[in-house]
Protein backbone atom coordinates (compact mmCIF):
# COMPACT_ATOMS: atom_id res chain seq x y z
CA UNK A 1 0.00 0.00 0.00
CA UNK A 2 1.28 3.47 -0.86
CA UNK A 3 2.22 6.01 1.79
CA UNK A 4 -0.57 8.04 3.40
CA UNK A 5 1.37 11.23 2.71
CA UNK A 6 4.29 11.76 0.41
CA UNK A 7 6.06 15.08 0.02
CA UNK A 8 8.85 15.63 -2.55
CA UNK A 9 10.75 18.89 -2.92
CA UNK A 10 7.90 20.96 -1.49
CA UNK A 11 8.32 24.73 -1.83
CA UNK A 12 6.14 27.65 -0.87
CA UNK A 13 6.91 31.24 -1.65
CA UNK A 14 5.08 34.30 -0.30
CA UNK A 15 6.24 37.23 -2.40
CA UNK A 16 9.99 37.46 -1.89
CA UNK A 17 10.05 35.13 1.09
CA UNK A 18 10.43 31.40 0.70
CA UNK A 19 8.68 29.88 3.72
CA UNK A 20 9.21 26.26 2.64
CA UNK A 21 12.43 25.53 0.76
CA UNK A 22 12.36 21.98 -0.52
CA UNK A 23 11.02 19.49 2.01
CA UNK A 24 10.79 15.72 1.54
CA UNK A 25 9.12 13.22 3.82
CA UNK A 26 6.73 10.31 3.81
CA UNK A 27 4.14 9.24 6.33
CA UNK A 28 3.23 5.55 6.28
CA UNK A 29 -0.34 4.40 6.79
CA UNK A 30 -1.18 3.80 10.43
CA UNK A 31 1.73 5.93 11.61
CA UNK A 32 1.73 8.89 14.00
CA UNK A 33 4.13 11.39 12.44
CA UNK A 34 5.27 14.48 14.34
CA UNK A 35 6.35 17.69 12.65
CA UNK A 36 8.49 19.77 14.99
CA UNK A 37 10.06 23.16 14.70
CA UNK A 38 10.17 26.65 16.14
CA UNK A 39 7.52 29.25 15.31
CA UNK A 40 7.95 30.42 11.75
CA UNK A 41 9.70 27.22 10.68
CA UNK A 42 7.14 26.44 7.97
CA UNK A 43 5.19 23.72 9.83
CA UNK A 44 1.76 25.28 9.45
CA UNK A 45 2.42 26.26 5.84
CA UNK A 46 3.43 22.67 5.07
CA UNK A 47 0.40 21.20 6.83
CA UNK A 48 -2.01 23.67 5.23
CA UNK A 49 -0.72 22.69 1.79
CA UNK A 50 -1.37 19.03 2.67
CA UNK A 51 -4.85 19.94 3.95
CA UNK A 52 -5.68 21.71 0.68
CA UNK A 53 -5.91 25.21 2.17
CA UNK A 54 -2.90 26.59 0.32
CA UNK A 55 -1.38 26.14 -3.08
CA UNK A 56 2.25 25.09 -3.23
CA UNK A 57 4.84 26.93 -5.30
CA UNK A 58 6.76 23.79 -6.23
CA UNK A 59 7.29 20.09 -5.57
CA UNK A 60 5.09 17.02 -5.53
CA UNK A 61 2.55 16.19 -2.83
CA UNK A 62 0.23 13.21 -2.49
CA UNK A 63 -2.31 12.72 0.31
CA UNK A 64 -4.06 9.32 0.27
CA UNK A 65 -3.14 9.19 -3.41
CA UNK A 66 -4.68 12.60 -4.23
CA UNK A 67 -3.13 15.95 -5.00
CA UNK A 68 -4.66 18.04 -2.19
CA UNK A 69 -4.62 21.17 -4.40
CA UNK A 70 -7.41 19.54 -6.43
CA UNK A 71 -9.64 19.65 -3.33
CA UNK A 72 -11.41 16.46 -4.36
CA UNK A 73 -14.48 15.79 -2.26
CA UNK A 74 -13.52 12.12 -2.17
CA UNK A 75 -10.30 13.10 -0.38
CA UNK A 76 -12.02 15.38 2.12
CA UNK A 77 -14.36 12.49 3.02
CA UNK A 78 -11.31 10.57 4.25
CA UNK A 79 -9.45 13.34 6.06
CA UNK A 80 -10.15 14.94 9.45
CA UNK A 81 -8.62 18.30 10.33
CA UNK A 82 -8.01 19.88 13.73
CA UNK A 83 -6.74 23.39 13.01
CA UNK A 84 -4.70 25.47 15.42
CA UNK A 85 -7.61 27.71 16.30
CA UNK A 86 -10.96 27.66 14.64
CA UNK A 87 -14.21 29.03 15.89
CA UNK A 88 -17.61 27.53 15.74
CA UNK A 89 -21.16 28.80 15.55
CA UNK A 90 -21.67 30.20 19.04
CA UNK A 91 -25.29 29.24 19.52
CA UNK A 92 -25.14 25.63 18.35
CA UNK A 93 -25.08 22.79 20.89
CA UNK A 94 -22.41 20.08 20.86
CA UNK A 95 -24.87 17.42 19.74
CA UNK A 96 -26.42 19.63 17.05
CA UNK A 97 -22.99 20.45 15.68
CA UNK A 98 -22.01 16.79 15.43
CA UNK A 99 -25.39 15.82 13.96
CA UNK A 100 -25.00 18.52 11.34
CA UNK A 101 -21.38 17.70 10.53
CA UNK A 102 -22.24 13.99 10.27
CA UNK A 103 -24.50 14.93 7.35
CA UNK A 104 -21.48 16.14 5.35
CA UNK A 105 -19.99 12.64 5.18
CA UNK A 106 -21.27 9.54 3.42
CA UNK A 107 -19.91 7.19 6.10
CA UNK A 108 -20.20 9.16 9.33
CA UNK A 109 -19.70 7.63 12.74
CA UNK A 110 -22.40 7.42 15.37
CA UNK A 111 -22.79 10.84 17.00
CA UNK A 112 -23.22 9.51 20.54
CA UNK A 113 -20.12 7.35 20.14
CA UNK A 114 -17.99 10.32 19.02
CA UNK A 115 -19.31 12.49 21.87
CA UNK A 116 -18.18 9.76 24.28
CA UNK A 117 -14.80 9.37 22.55
CA UNK A 118 -14.19 13.11 22.97
CA UNK A 119 -15.34 13.00 26.59
CA UNK A 120 -18.18 15.46 26.01
CA UNK A 121 -21.11 13.37 27.32
CA UNK A 122 -21.98 15.88 30.01
CA UNK A 123 -21.78 18.81 27.60
CA UNK A 124 -23.77 17.31 24.71
CA UNK A 125 -26.69 19.70 25.22
CA UNK A 126 -24.54 22.75 25.99
CA UNK A 127 -24.14 25.62 23.55
CA UNK A 128 -20.67 26.27 22.17
CA UNK A 129 -20.43 29.73 23.76
CA UNK A 130 -20.71 28.10 27.20
CA UNK A 131 -17.84 25.63 26.69
CA UNK A 132 -14.40 26.09 28.23
CA UNK A 133 -11.28 26.26 26.07
CA UNK A 134 -10.45 22.62 26.71
CA UNK A 135 -14.00 21.52 25.93
CA UNK A 136 -13.91 23.48 22.66
CA UNK A 137 -10.72 21.68 21.74
CA UNK A 138 -12.42 18.36 22.41
CA UNK A 139 -15.27 19.49 20.16
CA UNK A 140 -12.64 20.19 17.47
CA UNK A 141 -11.46 16.58 17.85
CA UNK A 142 -15.02 15.27 17.71
CA UNK A 143 -15.85 17.28 14.57
CA UNK A 144 -12.66 16.03 12.90
CA UNK A 145 -13.49 12.41 13.76
CA UNK A 146 -17.20 12.39 12.92
CA UNK A 147 -16.54 11.42 9.29
CA UNK A 148 -14.46 8.40 10.39
CA UNK A 149 -11.35 9.68 8.57
CA UNK A 150 -8.35 7.52 7.65
CA UNK A 151 -5.96 10.43 8.07
CA UNK A 152 -6.12 13.09 10.78
CA UNK A 153 -4.21 16.37 10.83
CA UNK A 154 -3.62 17.75 14.32
CA UNK A 155 -2.09 21.23 14.37
CA UNK A 156 -0.79 21.90 17.89
CA UNK A 157 -3.66 19.99 19.45
CA UNK A 158 -2.82 20.55 23.11
CA UNK A 159 -1.56 24.15 23.16
CA UNK A 160 -3.00 25.84 26.24
CA UNK A 161 -4.08 22.59 27.92
CA UNK A 162 -3.48 21.90 31.56
CA UNK A 163 -1.46 18.73 32.31
CA UNK A 164 -4.53 16.57 32.95
CA UNK A 165 -6.26 17.68 29.75
CA UNK A 166 -3.04 17.01 27.82
CA UNK A 167 -2.89 13.45 29.14
CA UNK A 168 -6.50 12.92 28.08
CA UNK A 169 -5.78 14.31 24.62
CA UNK A 170 -2.77 12.02 24.35
CA UNK A 171 -4.96 9.05 25.23
CA UNK A 172 -7.38 10.06 22.46
CA UNK A 173 -4.51 10.30 19.96
CA UNK A 174 -3.19 6.89 21.05
CA UNK A 175 -6.65 5.44 20.58
CA UNK A 176 -6.62 6.79 17.00
CA UNK A 177 -3.43 4.89 16.32
CA UNK A 178 -4.94 1.79 17.89
CA UNK A 179 -7.78 2.12 15.35
CA UNK A 180 -5.20 2.12 12.54
CA UNK A 181 -5.58 5.81 11.68
CA UNK A 182 -2.73 7.85 10.28
CA UNK A 183 -1.98 11.03 12.24
CA UNK A 184 0.12 14.02 11.20
CA UNK A 185 0.81 16.01 14.33
CA UNK A 186 2.52 19.36 14.56
CA UNK A 187 3.63 20.46 17.98
CA UNK A 188 6.25 22.47 19.73
CA UNK A 189 6.01 20.33 22.85
CA UNK A 190 8.87 17.88 22.52
CA UNK A 191 7.55 15.58 25.24
CA UNK A 192 4.33 15.32 23.23
CA UNK A 193 6.21 14.22 20.14
CA UNK A 194 8.37 11.83 22.17
CA UNK A 195 5.27 10.38 23.79
CA UNK A 196 3.04 10.00 20.74
CA UNK A 197 4.96 9.98 17.49
CA UNK A 198 6.35 6.89 15.77
CA UNK A 199 8.58 9.18 13.74
CA UNK A 200 9.31 12.89 13.82
CA UNK A 201 10.77 15.42 11.44
CA UNK A 202 12.38 18.65 12.59
CA UNK A 203 11.83 21.68 10.37
CA UNK A 204 13.55 25.02 10.58
CA UNK A 205 13.62 27.94 8.16
CA UNK A 206 11.61 25.94 5.68
CA UNK A 207 14.08 23.04 5.57
CA UNK A 208 13.93 19.56 7.04
CA UNK A 209 16.87 19.11 9.41
CA UNK A 210 16.35 15.61 10.72
CA UNK A 211 13.88 12.75 10.51
CA UNK A 212 13.49 9.49 12.40
CA UNK A 213 12.05 7.76 15.45
CA UNK A 214 12.12 10.14 18.43
CA UNK A 215 14.44 7.84 20.40
CA UNK A 216 16.88 7.32 17.55
CA UNK A 217 17.12 10.82 16.20
CA UNK A 218 20.85 11.63 16.31
CA UNK A 219 22.18 15.02 15.40
CA UNK A 220 25.18 13.66 13.55
CA UNK A 221 23.63 10.40 12.48
CA UNK A 222 25.93 8.41 14.81
CA UNK A 223 24.62 6.71 17.91
CA UNK A 224 25.89 8.80 20.77
CA UNK A 225 25.80 8.07 24.47
CA UNK A 226 26.60 10.40 27.30
CA UNK A 227 28.33 8.96 30.36
CA UNK A 228 28.53 11.16 33.43
CA UNK A 229 29.72 10.71 37.01
CA UNK A 230 31.34 12.59 39.88
CA UNK A 231 34.96 11.73 40.53
CA UNK A 232 36.76 11.59 43.87
CA UNK A 233 36.95 15.39 44.36
CA UNK A 234 33.25 15.80 43.58
CA UNK A 235 33.53 17.44 40.17
CA UNK A 236 31.18 16.33 37.39
CA UNK A 237 32.74 14.52 34.44
CA UNK A 238 30.81 14.08 31.19
CA UNK A 239 32.11 11.97 28.33
CA UNK A 240 30.48 11.23 25.00
CA UNK A 241 31.00 7.98 23.18
CA UNK A 242 29.55 5.74 20.52
CA UNK A 243 30.77 2.69 22.46
CA UNK A 244 29.48 2.91 26.03
CA UNK A 245 30.32 -0.69 26.84
CA UNK A 246 34.06 -0.20 26.45
CA UNK A 247 34.08 3.19 28.10
CA UNK A 248 32.15 1.96 31.15
CA UNK A 249 34.42 -1.05 31.46
CA UNK A 250 37.51 1.19 31.45
CA UNK A 251 36.00 3.72 33.87
CA UNK A 252 34.74 1.20 36.36
CA UNK A 253 37.95 -0.89 36.19
CA UNK A 254 40.06 2.22 36.84
CA UNK A 255 37.82 3.33 39.70
CA UNK A 256 37.94 -0.10 41.32
CA UNK A 257 41.72 -0.18 40.98
CA UNK A 258 41.89 3.18 42.80
CA UNK A 259 39.36 2.00 45.38
CA UNK A 260 37.00 4.81 44.45
CA UNK A 261 33.29 4.91 43.66
CA UNK A 262 31.77 6.65 40.63
CA UNK A 263 29.06 8.77 42.23
CA UNK A 264 25.92 9.55 40.21
CA UNK A 265 27.06 7.38 37.33
CA UNK A 266 24.61 7.53 34.46
CA UNK A 267 24.50 6.56 30.81
CA UNK A 268 22.01 8.52 28.73
CA UNK A 269 21.11 8.87 25.09
CA UNK A 270 20.60 12.42 23.86
CA UNK A 271 16.91 13.17 24.33
CA UNK A 272 14.73 14.52 21.56
CA UNK A 273 15.02 17.83 23.34
CA UNK A 274 18.84 17.80 23.15
CA UNK A 275 18.73 16.98 19.47
CA UNK A 276 16.08 19.57 18.82
CA UNK A 277 17.89 22.34 20.64
CA UNK A 278 21.15 21.50 18.94
CA UNK A 279 19.58 21.46 15.47
CA UNK A 280 17.44 24.53 15.84
CA UNK A 281 20.06 26.70 17.57
CA UNK A 282 20.70 29.84 15.56
CA UNK A 283 24.24 29.74 14.22
CA UNK A 284 24.00 33.25 12.85
CA UNK A 285 22.87 36.00 15.20
CA UNK A 286 20.45 37.56 12.66
CA UNK A 287 17.01 35.99 12.51
CA UNK A 288 16.28 34.34 9.17
CA UNK A 289 13.64 35.60 6.75
CA UNK A 290 10.23 34.00 6.68
CA UNK A 291 9.49 34.34 10.38
CA UNK A 292 6.19 36.10 9.80
CA UNK A 293 4.60 33.28 7.92
CA UNK A 294 3.84 30.57 10.42
Amino acid sequence: MSAAISVRGLRKRYGDVEAVRGIDFEVARGEVFGLLGPNGAGKTTTVEILEGYRERSGGEVAVLGHDPAGRARELRERVGIVLQSTGMYRHITVREALDHWAGFYSRAREVTEVIALAGLEEKAGERVNRLSGGQLRRLDFALALIGDPELIFLDEPTTGFDPVARRQAWDTIRSLRALGKTVLLTTHYLDEAQELADRVAIIKDGRLLAEGAPGELGAGGDERYRVSYRNGDGSLVVEETDDPTTLLHQLTAAALARGERLYELSVTRPSLEDVYLELTADVTPTPPAGVAHD
Partner: protein, 249 residues
Protein backbone atom coordinates in the same frame (compact mmCIF):
# COMPACT_ATOMS: atom_id res chain seq x y z
CA UNK B 1 -28.61 17.26 -7.84
CA UNK B 2 -31.05 15.97 -5.24
CA UNK B 3 -28.12 15.46 -2.86
CA UNK B 4 -27.00 19.05 -3.34
CA UNK B 5 -30.57 20.26 -2.77
CA UNK B 6 -30.89 18.14 0.39
CA UNK B 7 -27.56 19.41 1.77
CA UNK B 8 -28.47 23.03 0.99
CA UNK B 9 -31.82 22.58 2.72
CA UNK B 10 -30.06 21.15 5.80
CA UNK B 11 -27.61 24.05 5.88
CA UNK B 12 -30.47 26.53 5.43
CA UNK B 13 -32.42 24.99 8.32
CA UNK B 14 -29.39 25.20 10.61
CA UNK B 15 -28.81 28.84 9.67
CA UNK B 16 -32.45 29.67 10.42
CA UNK B 17 -32.41 27.93 13.77
CA UNK B 18 -29.20 29.67 14.82
CA UNK B 19 -30.36 33.05 13.53
CA UNK B 20 -33.18 33.18 16.07
CA UNK B 21 -30.85 32.11 18.87
CA UNK B 22 -28.66 35.15 18.37
CA UNK B 23 -30.54 38.05 19.96
CA UNK B 24 -28.45 40.88 18.51
CA UNK B 25 -28.66 39.52 14.95
CA UNK B 26 -32.37 38.96 15.33
CA UNK B 27 -32.79 42.52 16.59
CA UNK B 28 -30.68 44.42 14.08
CA UNK B 29 -31.55 42.27 11.08
CA UNK B 30 -35.17 41.86 11.85
CA UNK B 31 -36.81 44.14 14.35
CA UNK B 32 -34.92 47.35 13.57
CA UNK B 33 -36.61 48.19 10.23
CA UNK B 34 -39.99 47.31 11.73
CA UNK B 35 -39.35 49.62 14.68
CA UNK B 36 -38.41 52.41 12.25
CA UNK B 37 -41.62 51.78 10.36
CA UNK B 38 -43.61 51.97 13.59
CA UNK B 39 -41.90 55.23 14.66
CA UNK B 40 -42.20 57.01 11.33
CA UNK B 41 -45.69 55.65 10.84
CA UNK B 42 -46.67 57.23 14.17
CA UNK B 43 -44.96 60.54 13.32
CA UNK B 44 -46.60 60.76 9.87
CA UNK B 45 -49.91 59.40 11.10
CA UNK B 46 -52.75 61.08 9.20
CA UNK B 47 -50.43 62.47 6.52
CA UNK B 48 -51.03 60.04 3.66
CA UNK B 49 -48.48 61.66 1.34
CA UNK B 50 -45.65 60.96 3.82
CA UNK B 51 -46.98 57.52 4.65
CA UNK B 52 -46.94 56.72 0.92
CA UNK B 53 -43.21 57.54 0.94
CA UNK B 54 -42.20 55.87 4.18
CA UNK B 55 -43.78 52.44 3.61
CA UNK B 56 -41.97 51.58 0.34
CA UNK B 57 -38.91 53.44 1.69
CA UNK B 58 -38.69 51.17 4.73
CA UNK B 59 -39.35 48.16 2.48
CA UNK B 60 -36.31 49.19 0.40
CA UNK B 61 -34.24 49.77 3.54
CA UNK B 62 -35.08 46.29 4.80
CA UNK B 63 -34.08 44.73 1.47
CA UNK B 64 -30.68 46.36 1.95
CA UNK B 65 -30.27 45.65 5.66
CA UNK B 66 -31.26 41.97 5.47
CA UNK B 67 -28.78 41.30 2.66
CA UNK B 68 -26.00 43.90 2.40
CA UNK B 69 -25.62 44.64 6.12
CA UNK B 70 -26.35 41.13 7.35
CA UNK B 71 -24.00 39.34 4.94
CA UNK B 72 -21.15 41.82 5.42
CA UNK B 73 -21.40 41.32 9.19
CA UNK B 74 -21.90 37.56 9.02
CA UNK B 75 -19.09 36.79 6.64
CA UNK B 76 -16.65 39.02 8.50
CA UNK B 77 -17.54 37.23 11.73
CA UNK B 78 -17.46 33.71 10.25
CA UNK B 79 -14.14 34.41 8.54
CA UNK B 80 -12.53 35.94 11.63
CA UNK B 81 -13.77 33.12 13.86
CA UNK B 82 -12.50 30.48 11.44
CA UNK B 83 -15.92 28.94 10.82
CA UNK B 84 -15.42 29.43 7.07
CA UNK B 85 -12.05 27.72 7.24
CA UNK B 86 -13.47 24.84 9.23
CA UNK B 87 -16.26 24.41 6.68
CA UNK B 88 -13.68 24.48 3.90
CA UNK B 89 -12.01 21.40 5.42
CA UNK B 90 -15.16 19.27 5.21
CA UNK B 91 -16.65 17.58 2.13
CA UNK B 92 -19.54 20.06 2.13
CA UNK B 93 -19.45 21.76 -1.31
CA UNK B 94 -18.69 25.48 -1.03
CA UNK B 95 -21.74 26.43 -3.07
CA UNK B 96 -24.02 24.49 -0.73
CA UNK B 97 -22.69 26.28 2.32
CA UNK B 98 -22.84 29.78 0.83
CA UNK B 99 -26.22 28.98 -0.74
CA UNK B 100 -27.59 28.09 2.69
CA UNK B 101 -26.25 31.33 4.15
CA UNK B 102 -27.69 33.43 1.32
CA UNK B 103 -31.06 31.66 1.41
CA UNK B 104 -31.33 32.44 5.11
CA UNK B 105 -30.70 36.14 4.42
CA UNK B 106 -33.28 36.14 1.62
CA UNK B 107 -35.82 34.57 3.97
CA UNK B 108 -35.43 37.58 6.23
CA UNK B 109 -35.97 39.89 3.26
CA UNK B 110 -39.13 38.06 2.23
CA UNK B 111 -40.50 38.04 5.77
CA UNK B 112 -39.84 41.74 6.24
CA UNK B 113 -41.25 42.89 2.92
CA UNK B 114 -44.33 40.80 3.70
CA UNK B 115 -44.72 42.31 7.18
CA UNK B 116 -44.22 45.84 5.81
CA UNK B 117 -46.77 45.25 3.05
CA UNK B 118 -49.27 43.95 5.62
CA UNK B 119 -48.60 46.88 7.95
CA UNK B 120 -49.00 49.29 5.05
CA UNK B 121 -52.44 47.90 4.29
CA UNK B 122 -53.65 47.39 7.85
CA UNK B 123 -52.13 50.42 9.63
CA UNK B 124 -51.01 53.06 7.15
CA UNK B 125 -53.79 53.33 4.61
CA UNK B 126 -51.85 51.88 1.68
CA UNK B 127 -53.84 49.58 -0.60
CA UNK B 128 -52.74 46.04 -1.44
CA UNK B 129 -49.89 46.16 -3.97
CA UNK B 130 -51.29 46.88 -7.43
CA UNK B 131 -48.51 45.10 -9.24
CA UNK B 132 -47.29 41.93 -7.50
CA UNK B 133 -44.80 40.90 -10.24
CA UNK B 134 -43.22 44.36 -10.01
CA UNK B 135 -42.96 44.07 -6.22
CA UNK B 136 -41.29 40.67 -6.48
CA UNK B 137 -39.04 41.76 -9.35
CA UNK B 138 -37.63 44.81 -7.53
CA UNK B 139 -37.30 43.00 -4.22
CA UNK B 140 -35.44 40.18 -5.99
CA UNK B 141 -33.22 42.54 -7.99
CA UNK B 142 -32.41 44.40 -4.77
CA UNK B 143 -31.60 41.13 -3.00
CA UNK B 144 -29.15 39.96 -5.68
CA UNK B 145 -27.53 43.39 -5.93
CA UNK B 146 -27.19 44.10 -2.20
CA UNK B 147 -26.30 40.53 -1.22
CA UNK B 148 -23.37 40.46 -3.64
CA UNK B 149 -22.25 43.96 -2.59
CA UNK B 150 -22.39 42.84 1.06
CA UNK B 151 -20.23 39.79 0.33
CA UNK B 152 -17.81 42.00 -1.63
CA UNK B 153 -17.63 44.52 1.23
CA UNK B 154 -16.77 41.74 3.70
CA UNK B 155 -13.52 41.19 1.77
CA UNK B 156 -12.20 44.64 2.66
CA UNK B 157 -13.34 44.72 6.30
CA UNK B 158 -10.16 43.84 8.24
CA UNK B 159 -11.82 42.44 11.37
CA UNK B 160 -15.16 42.07 13.07
CA UNK B 161 -14.56 44.97 15.47
CA UNK B 162 -14.39 47.40 12.59
CA UNK B 163 -17.34 45.89 10.70
CA UNK B 164 -19.96 48.33 12.08
CA UNK B 165 -17.84 51.31 10.99
CA UNK B 166 -17.40 50.01 7.44
CA UNK B 167 -20.99 48.90 7.02
CA UNK B 168 -22.62 51.98 8.52
CA UNK B 169 -20.34 54.36 6.63
CA UNK B 170 -22.08 53.04 3.52
CA UNK B 171 -25.50 52.03 4.82
CA UNK B 172 -26.48 55.20 6.73
CA UNK B 173 -25.64 57.81 4.03
CA UNK B 174 -27.24 55.58 1.41
CA UNK B 175 -30.57 55.32 3.22
CA UNK B 176 -30.61 59.06 3.95
CA UNK B 177 -30.01 60.20 0.39
CA UNK B 178 -32.08 57.50 -1.29
CA UNK B 179 -35.43 58.79 -0.05
CA UNK B 180 -36.24 56.22 2.61
CA UNK B 181 -37.53 58.85 5.04
CA UNK B 182 -38.67 61.63 2.74
CA UNK B 183 -39.85 62.19 -0.80
CA UNK B 184 -36.69 62.09 -2.91
CA UNK B 185 -38.23 64.67 -5.26
CA UNK B 186 -37.84 67.35 -2.56
CA UNK B 187 -34.09 66.77 -2.04
CA UNK B 188 -31.42 69.20 -3.35
CA UNK B 189 -30.19 68.52 -6.87
CA UNK B 190 -26.70 67.25 -6.00
CA UNK B 191 -28.17 64.78 -3.50
CA UNK B 192 -30.61 63.60 -6.15
CA UNK B 193 -27.78 63.18 -8.64
CA UNK B 194 -25.79 60.98 -6.25
CA UNK B 195 -28.88 58.95 -5.32
CA UNK B 196 -29.67 58.40 -9.02
CA UNK B 197 -26.36 56.60 -9.40
CA UNK B 198 -26.96 54.28 -6.43
CA UNK B 199 -29.15 51.18 -6.48
CA UNK B 200 -31.28 51.76 -3.36
CA UNK B 201 -33.26 54.70 -4.75
CA UNK B 202 -34.26 52.61 -7.77
CA UNK B 203 -35.27 49.64 -5.63
CA UNK B 204 -37.48 51.99 -3.59
CA UNK B 205 -38.93 53.58 -6.77
CA UNK B 206 -39.81 50.13 -8.07
CA UNK B 207 -41.39 49.07 -4.77
CA UNK B 208 -43.24 52.38 -4.63
CA UNK B 209 -44.55 51.81 -8.14
CA UNK B 210 -45.84 48.40 -7.13
CA UNK B 211 -47.30 49.50 -3.77
CA UNK B 212 -48.35 53.13 -4.19
CA UNK B 213 -48.02 55.02 -7.45
CA UNK B 214 -49.05 52.28 -9.85
CA UNK B 215 -46.18 53.02 -12.24
CA UNK B 216 -45.33 49.74 -13.95
CA UNK B 217 -42.06 47.92 -14.61
CA UNK B 218 -41.86 49.68 -17.98
CA UNK B 219 -41.51 53.04 -16.21
CA UNK B 220 -38.53 51.81 -14.18
CA UNK B 221 -36.35 50.19 -16.82
CA UNK B 222 -33.49 52.65 -16.44
CA UNK B 223 -33.59 52.15 -12.64
CA UNK B 224 -33.48 48.41 -13.18
CA UNK B 225 -30.42 48.93 -15.36
CA UNK B 226 -28.64 50.84 -12.54
CA UNK B 227 -29.44 47.99 -10.12
CA UNK B 228 -28.16 45.47 -12.67
CA UNK B 229 -24.84 47.31 -13.14
CA UNK B 230 -24.23 47.45 -9.38
CA UNK B 231 -25.31 43.82 -9.08
CA UNK B 232 -22.89 42.71 -11.80
CA UNK B 233 -20.03 44.64 -10.16
CA UNK B 234 -20.99 43.15 -6.79
CA UNK B 235 -21.04 39.58 -8.11
CA UNK B 236 -17.68 40.06 -9.82
CA UNK B 237 -16.05 41.49 -6.68
CA UNK B 238 -17.75 38.99 -4.35
CA UNK B 239 -16.35 36.04 -6.30
CA UNK B 240 -12.96 37.51 -7.14
CA UNK B 241 -12.01 38.58 -3.63
CA UNK B 242 -13.51 35.63 -1.76
CA UNK B 243 -11.30 34.20 0.94
CA UNK B 244 -12.07 31.39 3.37
CA UNK B 245 -9.28 32.39 5.66
CA UNK B 246 -8.53 35.49 7.67
CA UNK B 247 -5.86 37.49 5.87
CA UNK B 248 -2.53 37.36 7.65
CA UNK B 249 -0.56 40.53 7.79
Amino acid sequence: MTEVAALTWRQYRLERRLFWRNPSAAFFNFLFPLILLGLFGAVFSGNQHDLNVIVPGIAGLSVMSTTFTALAFNLTFLREQGVLKRMRGTPLPAGVYLGGLAASAVTNTALQVTIITLAGKLLFGIPWPRDWPELVLFAAAGVVCFASLGVALSHVIPNFDSAPAYVNAIFLPTIFISGVFYDAASAPAFIKDIAEGLPLKHVIDGLSGAMVTGKGIGDHLSGLAVIAVWGAAGIFLAIRGFSWDQRRD
